[in-house]
């Protein structure tokens, strides 16, 4: 079990930031991205303790992180959209984004289908086709074709509309959150 903890710690140091960046562009809230990291490495620890497969742990980590990010987005999407006038009154907390790159990335991703978002986000973290296939639950032979289409749609969306005013407004910074969040 000590080996598991050491391995988990090493993997956290090696991939924690990459998992966080991966989650940061897929989810909207910073605390959700942090929760994705936490959940991913907690599951890694249990996976290692249970003697799980260790042949492709990097791909395994991104698979778990992708599922965790998707679950959080689904949970958020179940909420009824609030009236615009109320949104103006209480803007949601956003990720720290000093140079606006997260906002731009999320705005671009929002214009793509879910699978395209996931594939491009995985590729952006340098995952191989085999790892991407595992994380996205698709055939390895399909990764290149699907990535090509996703990249074309990204390019088309980017040339059509760099980032709509509405998207900029929806991501406009409001009161900055202090980092605390609880599920009551």
């Amino acid at each position: 079990m000590q080996g598991s903890t050491e391995a988990a710690r090493d993997l956290f140091q090696a991939h924690g930031t990459a998992i966080y960046r991966f989650a940061a562009v897929l989810v909207r809230h910073r605390e959700d991205a942090e929760d994705v990291v936490q959940e991913t490495f907690m599951k890694l620890l249990r996976h290692l303790e249970a003697g799980g497969d260790t042949t492709n742990l990097r791909g395994w980590l991104f698979t778990v992180a992708a599922h965790a990010a998707r679950d959080r987005q689904r949970r958020r999407s179940r909420w009824i959209p609030w009236a615009p006038v109320h949104d103006a009154a209480v803007p949601p907390p956003v990720l720290d984004d000093e140079d606006g790159r997260i906002r731009s990335a999320r705005a671009a991703l929002r214009r793509l289908p879910d699978r395209d978002r996931l594939l491009l986000a995985l590729r952006a973290q340098g995952l191989s086709y085999r790892e991407i296939a595992s994380a996205a639950a698709i055939q390895p032979a399909s990764v290149g074709r699907l990535l090509a289409r996703a990249a074309d749609r990204w390019a088309a969306a980017a040339s059509r509309n760099p980032a709509s005013e509405q998207e900029r407004k929806s991501d406009a910074t409001g009161p900055r959150r202090s980092g605390a969040r609880e599920r009551a």
Partner: protein, 354 residues
């Protein structure tokens, strides 16, 4: 060899292509140009989707701390009594951030809401002055009797030392006066002033004897209290803390509290509240729901709130308006009813005079 299709070109750009495809791209000008363009596109995408954000420092510090502990022999012996202890320590050390993150806000959403309701209903002394923005949509007149849909800026003063004494003034978003109403239970008078089609009116009535009804600010406060109490009863709250201009704020949302129309009298379908962590006062409040099966929404945003304010003597008096038509009479417990009845009576008198 045929030119490369998009899939094979993509694989080359991603460093996964076959050697013969790469050789073709090197020898074919068209495929070479497409490969360069595809590689540039993927580089652009990867740069966009790999933002330069790092894990919060506390995450990393905790991990570093784990390394340091293990480097000390004595400490190491203490931490490796059992494998379970090691695992537990890793969990505690590596993933302590979320626990630490919430340790300064250990109250639950329900507790915060309960404290807020307590704060709202607390007995106060002296004069309380509030300014706030009010956005109404479909709000029934049983809730806010003298307002129609729209955005208002409201000023209100309540004298807690004299139950029922208040003045309430509403303005358009750009500051134009809309209406003002004041009640004085000691002088037994209620004055309501407003403009309609450019004409100013002033209804000055005596208050009925007997127990007084709820005042307009009391009705609004009760609505807020009841809404927050329903939020508290919900098991589906989402609580966050955010930094406001004057300190930490609790932001609590409750999605879909009841199925639309499940309660024929009053349903809340969605609610959100922003509470000041210093005193649990409500800074912002917004609900959507239905009252008597009619959908409505209400949003409140506090601008200023002073308890124990010092006001000039005429602060509870509705100021006269130039050219106003003054209607006097005996009032009832329902201000809107008084205005209609007294206006009709004045109209009848004018007709008889003609």
């Amino acid at each position: 060899m045929n030119c490369l299709n998009d899939e094979r070109l993509q694989a080359l750009a991603d460093g996964e292509g076959r050697d013969d495809d790469r050789a073709h791209a090197a020898s074919c000008a068209a495929c070479g140009a497409r490969l360069r363009a595809r590689t540039a596109l993927m580089t652009s995408i990867e740069t966009s989707l790999n933002p330069p954000v790092d894990l919060p420092a506390s995450f990393r510090l905790k991990a570093d701390g784990a390394t340091r502990l293990r480097a000390l022999p004595d400490t190491r012996r203490r931490w490796i009594y059992t494998a379970a202890a090691v695992a537990a320590s890793l969990v505690a050390v590596l993933f302590v951030l979320p626990i630490v993150r919430t340790s300064d806000t250990t109250v639950s959403a329900s507790e915060i809401l309960a404290k807020s309701v307590t704060q709202l209903s607390a007995v106060r002394r002296g004069i309380e002055v509030m300014e706030y923005e009010l956005v109404l949509g479909g709000v029934p007149k049983e809730m806010v009797p003298d307002q129609v849909d729209g955005t208002y800026r409201v000023w209100q003063a309540i004298d807690h030392d004299v139950p029922g004494r208040f003045r309430f003034a509403s303005f358009t978003a750009d500051g134009q006066a809309i209406s003002s109403i004041a009640e004085d239970p000691i002088g037994k008078r209620r004055v309501a002033a407003f403009r309609s089609e450019g004409q100013a009116y002033r209804f000055d009535v005596t208050l009925p004897s007997g127990p007084r009804n709820l005042s307009l600010p009391e009705i609004e406060q009760l609505h807020m209290e009841a809404s927050i109490a329903i939020m508290q009863a919900s098991g589906n709250q989402l609580l966050e803390t955010i930094d406001g201009p004057n300190g930490k704020l609790y932001r609590i949302e409750v999605p879909r509290l009841a199925s639309p129309g499940s309660n024929p009298v009053w349903d809340l379908t969605e609610a959100r509240v922003l509470i000041d962590s210093r005193d649990y006062s409500v800074v912002e409040f917004a609900v959507q729901g239905s009252f008597l099966k009619s959908p409505y929404s209400l949003s409140y945003k506090q601008i200023r709130h002073v308890v124990g304010a010092s006001l000039p003597a005429d602060a509870f008096t509705v100021p006269p308006q130039p050219g106003e038509i003054v209607v006097t009479g005996e009032g009832t417990a329902v201000p809107t009813h008084d205005i209609v009845v007294l206006a009709l009576r004045a109209l009848a008198q004018a007709k008889r005079a003609q």
